[in-house]
Amino acid sequence: MGLRRYIGKRLVYTVILLVLIVLFNYFLFQVLPFLVNCNGLPYEKCAENMYLPQQPPRGAVNFNYIAAVRARISKDFGFQDPLLVRVGLYIKNLFTGNFGFNIGSYGTNPVIQTIQYAAPYTILLIGSSTIAAFAIGIGLGVIAAAKRGQFVDIGFLAVLLFLNSLPVFFLGAILQLLQIYVTRTTYISVPGETLLKTGWPFYEGLLKALFLPFLTLTFAGIGGVFLTQRAVMMDAVQEDYILTARAKGLPERTVLFKHAFRNAVLPIVTAFALSIGFILSGAVITETVFGYPGLGLALFNAVVQLDFPLEQALFFIIAVMVVIAVFIADILHGFLDPRVVTA
């Protein structure tokens, strides 16, 4: 099987997965609202009630407005149509980026706006911390593997295993405490006014807000990367070609980085591609602890407010990102390790 056929096969799997995910996402959020607040109403009525604005916009005549919105909800959701048409409508809406409106504000507050606002913050936070965690984790892993069984190795292992089993929220809280202890002021997540500013004050405020969540996620991420890197490096160091390289009299540095590391890099590359995919889902707890205005916090707020359209949209985006990341990881795997393709 050639590389092209391998990619083609993975592509087919990916498309099938995407379809399954979309269907799952659709039906999950058909069922979930029922469990909470439908009180035996038929789904259409329940959805109408749920999505109705709590307050009509100023100037609207109450009765007519509500009736009009009801009609619009019914049309938008396709309540008159058969199930298949409804699902089709949902998929069509996905392609046009129409995720509906936030709960209680039908027609005024589209979900996509909330996501567009929050996404850059999350990408900045998780992107930077993932890169940092991988850089540090790989470095420490190589060092530990080179000094296997020595004090450095055991020390790294103990500290990072402990860091790894600290709950993220506890780690975040401890960092908050440390900051309070150092600066002698109470912790403020992101000062609201910062985000309204422009230019340098905005970036300064953003960096301040980013600092602790970034540290938290980096510390939380190092452990896993370190353990993987250390394990694969140890495997690689025991291979025969390393013995050969050493026997040739190559310097230890060359042996480690040119021979061993290049062969040990594969699992880390796939892990990195995967973790980029999990960018959105990993941030819920950290963002909530720090009040950082990203997608994770948006999801938490959506859960608290039972904002189903927003939950559904976030789910879709998260799942699609993971599917794509898995696909990329597979392809990378194929490129880096020809054995996978021929298998």
């Binding site: 799997y13 997965l17 399954l20 995910i21 799952f24 979930l32 469990l35 909470v36 607040n37 295993l161 402990f162 790894n164 089993s165 600290l166 709950p167 993220v168 929220f169 506890f170 809280a173 401890i174 908050q176 405490l177 309070i180 202890y181 002698r184 109470t186 912790y187 140890m234 959105l280 889902s281 990993g282 819920v284 707890i285 909530t288 602890v289 999801l299 938490f300 859960v303 608290v304 039972l306 939950e311 976030l314 789910f315 998260i318 799942a319 993971v322 599917v323 898995v326």
Partner: protein, 524 residues
């Protein structure tokens, strides 16, 4: 059968021997056993209900912390200093009762019948005609009667004190309102506490109506409204009154004055009053094994009882998930073909599901449903199992496949070994190691996840339950916002460290088991 039993026993012996050799495994096991003992013997180890408010003063440091220089001057909790409740006649007799035209009696179970009434004091008192109002703080009040008791105080200055009593007027003639003032006579100067107008019992003619809420027996609870009797005649809030009042050892006297306000135009008045459960608490600054939290809950008790949820969810979900995963994995690995392919596809699907968000959303839905909320942890376990078993199944499938291809299996089949025989004697023994280590690793993950759900307040949904995650969530605002109480380390650290330790312990045991069953790792 017996030979098989002996085999199992010798296997177990061998396993134990190998396990004891692994240092990290033994350390992990000790930690796990410690927390299991905590969870099981919670009623013995922590008899104080974890959600009982005010077992001591709020924000008490642990009693052993007084050994530290920073807390050297803190008094260990001493509550109550004088038991002055009316549980028996003797205790009433020790009170000095004085007043105009006073009769009093023990009133066991008189109307209104209520458990707290039993043994209360029933006082009939009348106001002298045309007596001048003598309450310097609340104009119009006249002392109906007063009761006092002396006590010795010898100890360090407490950070807080509290006088509580139940006071109820049952009959009032020409009196519009009844309230109480407390006076503490100290060796140096006198201080009084007034219950203030908001706490006073009012009633029209003879029907009892309490001003603030529906509960008939009204605890009067004053800590901060402290006035010097020789000082300012207005309600002043003093930051730390107890340092002012209990600043030396010696003879003190607590007096409660029950005041009546005459109805408009009347010259005399009469009232019948129940008094019970009068107590003076001097709170210490240090309490118990782990101190107290913001509401005066016992932190040690919360830690012990909170371990139950983490343990239960972690172990149940770990066993369930690995159990189902193992069965599916072994079946898929042994049978292979379509079944194996299907398992692979299912796993692919589960892999891309956003695990934590899905968990949060589903749990929040369960918690918001009144029918499901009481069994929310059962559902959490179920969701954990549902979302994770495929990952374990493919791991075990891979292991089963490699074992199945080994020569000894082929040999066994060649000499006529049946499927059952091969599964039992060859596949299972070689797969079980992976299964054991997976249970340990998964329990660790589930403990962290459950703590996260509790921390976010999703699982509990405001119900009165306690777990480590909930403790952390409660402590966080104080820990990060209140430098006055030294960042409440005794409240904030134990649950977090416990979560980390327990999950780490399971990881260590998992690694130890892994290296036992995986000789390649053991060689290292």
């Amino acid at each position: 059968m017996s030979s098989q039993g002996r085999n199992l026993l010798s296997d177990l012996k061998r396993l134990t021997k190998l396990f004891i050799k692994s240092k990290i495994g033994v350390v992990g096991l000790i930690v796990i056993v410690f927390f299991v003992v905590l969870a099981i013997f919670a009623p013995i180890l922590a008899p104080i209900p974890p959600l009982d408010h005010k077992v001591a003063a709020a924000y008490d440091v642990p009693s052993w912390a007084t050994l530290l220089p920073e807390y050297r001057n803190v008094a260990v909790d001493q509550t109550p200093i004088a038991t002055i409740g009316f549980s028996s006649q003797q205790e009433v007799a020790s009170w000095d009762l004085s007043g105009n035209n006073l009769t009093w009696s023990i009133a066991p179970g008189v109307t209104p019948p209520s458990p707290t009434v039993t043994g209360s004091l029933y006082v009939n008192a009348s106001l002298p005609a045309n007596a001048t109002a003598n309450d310097p703080y609340l104009p119009g009040g006249v002392v109906l009667f007063s009761m006092s008791q002396s006590f010795k105080f010898s100890g360090a200055s407490p950070p807080a004190f509290e006088v509580t009593t139940n006071l109820e007027a049952t009959e009032m003639t020409n009196i519009s309102r009844i309230y109480a003032n407390f006076i503490i006579f100290t060796p140096k100067g006198n201080y009084s506490l007034s219950s203030g107008p908001t706490f006073s019992a009012t009633l029209g003619s003879t029907v009892m109506i309490l001003s603030s809420n529906a509960t008939k027996w009204h605890p009067i609870d004053i800590t901060s409204w402290l006035l010097s009797t020789s000082g300012i005649p207005s309600y002043t809030s003093i930051g730390n009154p107890s340092e002012l009042v209990f600043n030396q050892t010696g003879d003190y006297r607590l007096e409660m004055q029950v005041m009546g306000v005459r109805a408009g135009g009347a010259t005399t008045g009469m009232a019948s009053v129940y008094v019970s459960s009068m107590e003076l608490h001097l709170d210490g600054g240090a309490y118990g094994i782990l101190g107290t939290d913001k509401l005066g809950n016992d932190v040690w008790s919360q830690l012990v009882w909170g371990s139950q949820i983490s343990m239960m969810v972690g172990i149940a979900a770990g066993l369930g998930s690995v159990g189902i995963g193992a069965i599916a994995g072994i079946a898929a690995g042994y049978i292979g073909g379509l079944f194996s392919d299907m398992l692979g596809r299912v796993t692919d699907f589960f892999l891309v599901l956003p695990f934590l968000p899905l968990l949060i959303v589903v749990t929040s839905i369960i918690a918001a449903n009144p029918l499901l909320i009481s069994t929310v942890y059962f559902w959490i376990i179920l969701v954990f199992i549902t979302l994770t078993w495929p990952f374990i199944a493919i791991l075990i499938r891979a292991q089963t496949k490699t074992v199945k291809e080994r020569q000894f299996v082929e040999a066994s089949r060649a000499v006529g070994g049946g499927t059952g025989h091969i599964l039992r004697r060859h596949i299972l023994p070689n797969v079980m190691g992976l299964v054991y280590s997976q249970v340990a690793l998964n329990v660790s993950g589930f403990i962290l996840l459950d703590a996260a759900l509790d921390f976010l307040g999703i699982a509990a949904h405001g119900r009165p339950i306690i777990s480590w995650g909930i403790m952390l969530a409660n402590a966080l605002p104080d820990a990060t916002g209140d430098p006055i109480h030294s960042y409440v380390w005794w409240w904030f650290l134990p649950p977090g460290v416990s979560i980390a330790l327990l999950s780490l312990a399971f990881v260590l045991v998992g690694y130890a088991l892994d290296s036992i069953f995986n000789p390649r790792l053991r060689a290292r």
